[in-house]
Subunit: 199 residues, 2 copies
Amino acid sequence: MDQETDNNKKKLDSQDEILLAALKLFAEKGYFNTSLSDIAEAVGLKTTSSIYQHFKNKQTIASALYADILDSLSISIDDIRRRNKKPSEQLREIVGLLFRLTQTAPNVMTFLLVMNRHEFLPEEKPLLETAPFVKILKIIQTGIRFEEIRGTDPLQAYMYFFGIINQTLRMALAGSLAKNVEAYQSQVWMTAWNAICKK
Amino acid sequence: MDQETDNNKKKLDSQDEILLAALKLFAEKGYFNTSLSDIAEAVGLKTTSSIYQHFKNKQTIASALYADILDSLSISIDDIRRRNKKPSEQLREIVGLLFRLTQTAPNVMTFLLVMNRHEFLPEEKPLLETAPFVKILKIIQTGIRFEEIRGTDPLQAYMYFFGIINQTLRMALAGSLAKNVEAYQSQVWMTAWNAICKK
DNA sequence: GTCTATACGCCGATAGAC
DNA sequence: GTCTATCGGCGTATAGAC
């Protein structure tokens, strides 16, 4: 491995370290309650100056975080669509993914589901207009066309279905649930699916 | 009306003016994006100093706001419980109240449903442990006992029912719905109730 | 009760040495 | 790439005149 590649790798690692630390702090204390000093300290830097080597300012950290999370989510959903044919199966797997993420990467889910991003990222698109969620709406749309899902408005079906799913995940993230999130998964899925399925 | 009463009334009015302006700004821009100067300006004051006549600091404004909203909500729910016997009817009216509030007082609902209060009011109880929501859980509990609502865990029923309700209201507040909120009310109620009722 | 003036601290951000 | 040093600004909060 030549020097340039090594440098690039090192730089990417540093960036990811910062992003990871920022995500954790943002999710735990909120964007406005975490200073660049907090982030610097979390990655073992003595000053905030070094952070500016990787990011223009605090906002771009959050912005990069948002992009990364949406990207990986989008890829996962593409994968799910490829591996499953029926919209019901696709939704079932998406629910599985979200529950798993809530369990293994709660900070990611907190960033997605509980933080008010428009307060610190006013330029970014709302979640619903974002690639992965447009794909989810497409799945629902297909479900309606194939008469797996009732009604005519995909947004309304989304509202019912993910209303239940997201409320469950939010309560899990808030620590309001007695048991492990995944203990609720099958029952929550059934209830949510029942709210939108045909018959 | 004697002078003292007059003074008291004047003072209360000023406080309420500040609270109202703060609520609006908090809901629109977020707590951390609104400064005391913003609030002062909104109520026609030239400096922040005058605000300290009524509130110890910025936090106590938010705190008073939270208390006021929960109080009035609690009173409304008491009223609903008095006027209706069956849990289903009580929940039906609570849904009506929440939809109406979303329409007529969106800032109140934004403060309740979308803001992350723990970020600026870390001492305050989470919504679920709060008087009005304890009462709602009691209603659900009674519904289970009287076999109107299925299942055994009130929290889970809450999750399903208000998952759908709150997601609808949040989307309405975010401007993601095509029509007026109240246009969705009866359909949303049916779907939410169906998710928890004993068939 | 509202104002002027001011203090203080923190944070985001930059310049430049090493 | 990380550091020291430093700046400017904003926001909270206080003291005290009117």
